[in-house]
């Protein structure tokens, strides 16, 4: 990232979830490579993410962690917020995304149905994903301009 470039992301943990450690570390790591991180911390309802989007119209993504297994209920208001145009940037989710020790792929599908764009397991892949999403957006814009 060039030093002049300003890249903003919104980070937080889902509404009923207070697992803080990964959130602390991800914020540190993103800041370490130059991102401006609006970290809403633990226990963040969709409403708060939407408010942060209002404050940061240039945010590249909303990054939500969820560990406690409640991600589906916690993101229940996401479709409404997207519908209302309050969250327009890509939504990335990561963590432990269902209750129980045996995971069912259906639970990830249900997240996509709620309007989650990308699901990641390794936070180490976040930067690459953000770069990819930005490249896609730039290309899309160029396409719009060209047409």
């Amino acid at each position: 990232m060039s030093p002049s470039e300003r890249r903003v992301v919104i980070l937080g943990v889902a509404a009923s979830d207070s697992h803080a450690v990964a959130n602390h570390l991800i914020a540190h790591a993103l800041r370490g490579v130059g991102f401006e991180v609006e970290n809403l911390g633990t226990c963040t309802p969709v409403e708060e993410f939407a408010d942060a989007c209002d404050r940061h119209p240039d945010a590249e993504a909303v990054i939500i962690g969820s560990l406690n297994g409640h991600v589906h209920e916690d993101l229940r208001d996401l479709p409404a917020a997207r519908e209302a145009g309050r969250i327009t940037c890509p939504v990335i989710v990561g963590g432990n995304l269902s209750v129980g020790s045996k995971k069912d792929p259906r639970d990830l599908e249900r997240l996509h149905e709620l309007g989650v764009d990308r699901i990641l397991s390794d936070p180490g892949q976040l930067v690459a994903l953000l770069d990819e999403l930005r490249a896609a957006r730039t290309a899309e814009r160029q396409l719009l301009v060209a047409s």
Binding site: S18, C43, G69, G100, K102
Partner: protein, 467 residues
């Protein structure tokens, strides 16, 4: 004089289905249950030199919860059983809890007792022989506590600091401390009616790299408040750090701290929480850690042990894994392991240091005329602190770090009111560990390594630092 005894819920929102029975009726109900209270099981365990064993367990549906408790009792006969409460209920998100319960109870990460109501609580209680404890994580547990007592449950975990800072983002400490004072006062009143409720404090806090003196200091403050409110049986839980001498010393510090800071009429029990941080994934490694934790509990003289399972790294365990974790932990109670010893001299030294650090943290607070405001202020200034706080109301200015041997020390003591003697011992002990890499830049990697201590020790994962 029992006129003062009322349900707390009367003071707050109305809970789930229907009103609660009169409190005196609940006390009679508990007496009629014919099963021992948690406090008496703890005492019996300590008297017999046995570590009582307890699982974490909680699922959303009522029948499923009943089956879970019964299966665990049948397969592993733990000394205690648990109702782990879901995290909507913990945060008083009762509406969400109820909705998920109705739509898809399997999506709940615990049992929503308030939504189910006290009659079902009693049914659960009656379906097993072991006393039940409520484990949750509620900054304001008053409604939950009411339903718990009405359900005849004689052990209740939490505290105004330890169930706030790790569990919520924006609840002011004063609010949670006051709410928990209410809970503790009712415990005092119940004691007057002949029912001693075991109040376990959650010394585990944020679980990851919590220095023992932080855990114990916060438990001391909560215990002092609880005892003043009339609580008669206090379990002080401590999260296994993974370092034998440190853990044994920390457990043995608990009775010593009780003698110093608590009135003598209060029963105090040491409780070990098996390693609460990042668990190894491989079943054998996880089982090694489970057994080790249980042995530490025995060597440290704990009255009780909260167990983990080999599925810990993956998610809420199934019944079989839970039962197997209990059975494995119970091996530490074996009559055949009397030969196991620990280096008493090193434990003694570590114990002295732990007591000194705890004293340096708690004594300024306890010296203030009013403890609750003093606690709030101290957290605001970082004079009290915890690492990795989930809440805004702690600074998380301290940086924990494992020393060469794996014991948790302070790399930065933040604004903790430590003596220079304490500070220099901590930096002494970390000298070797620091030498591993340049401090600048590698701090995050070192922290990650310390967090992933067991996966790295078991070679499931590479060290970040040595990459």
């Amino acid at each position: 004089m029992t006129g003062g005894v009322t349900y707390l819920a009367g003071r707050g929102e109305a809970p789930g289905p229907g009103a609660l029975p009169p409190l005196a009726e609940s006390v009679d109900y508990i007496a009629s249950l014919g099963k021992p209270t948690a406090a008496s099981v703890l005492k019996a365990a300590r008297d017999s030199g046995r570590v009582a064993i307890q699982p974490r367990c909680g699922v959303g549906g009522h029948q499923e919860m009943k089956a879970l408790l019964r299966d665990l009792e049948e397969r592993a006969a733990p000394d205690f059983l648990t109702l782990t409460i879901d995290s909507h209920t913990r945060l008083k998100r009762f509406e969400q809890a109820l909705r998920t319960l109705n739509l898809s109870p399997g999506d709940l990460n615990g049992y929503p007792l308030v939504s189910h109501g006290y009659r079902r609580g009693r049914e659960l209680n009656e379906s097993v022989a072991a006393p039940l404890e409520i484990r949750h994580g509620s900054p304001d547990a008053r409604i939950l506590f009411d339903v718990a007592v009405a359900s005849g449950i004689t052990s209740f975990e939490g505290g105004g600091i330890s169930y706030n800072l790790p569990y919520s983002k924006a609840v002011p400490l004063e609010e949670s401390l006051t709410a928990w004072q209410d809970v503790d006062r009712v415990c005092g009143e119940l004691a007057g009616l002949g029912l001693v409720v075991d109040r376990e404090l959650f010394g585990t806090l944020t679980a990851v790299l919590v220095p023992p003196s932080i855990s114990l200091a916060i438990s001391v403050l909560e215990a002092v408040l609880a005892a003043r409110a009339g609580v008669r049986c206090i379990s002080v839980s401590y999260p296994q750090s993974g370092h034998l001498v440190q853990d044994v010393a920390a457990l043995r510090a608990i009775p010593a701290l009780a003698r110093t800071y608590l009135p003598s009429g209060v029963e105090v029990h040491a409780v070990l929480h098996e390693f609460m941080g990042v668990f190894p994934k491989d079943r054998g490694h996880a089982e090694d850690l489970i057994l080790y934790g249980a042995l530490v509990a025995r060597l440290g003289g704990a009255s009780k042990l909260i167990t983990k399972t080999y599925q810990e790294a993956f998610g809420i365990p199934d019944t079989r894994a839970n039962a197997e974790g209990l059975r494995l932990a119970d091996r530490a109670n074996s009559r055949l392991l009397g030969f196991m010893t620990v280096d008493e001299q090193r434990v003694g030294e570590e114990l002295d240091w732990i007591l000194a650090e705890v004293a340096e943290i708690v004594e300024p607070v306890l010296a203030a005329p009013d403890t609750i405001p003093a606690i709030c202020e101290a957290f605001a200034e970082g004079l009290l602190d915890i690492p990795f706080s989930a809440s805004r109301y702690a600074k998380s200015g301290i940086i924990p770090k494992r020393d060469d041997e794996g014991a948790i020390r302070y790399l930065s003591t933040g604004s903790l009111p430590f003596s220079s003697r304490t500070r220099s011992r901590n930096s002494e002990l970390l000298k070797g560990a620091d030498a591993a890499g340049p401090v600048i830049g590698s701090l995050l990697a070192e922290l990650a390594d310390d967090i992933n201590y067991f996966p790295i020790l078991f070679q499931e994962m590479d060290s970040e630092v040595s990459k």
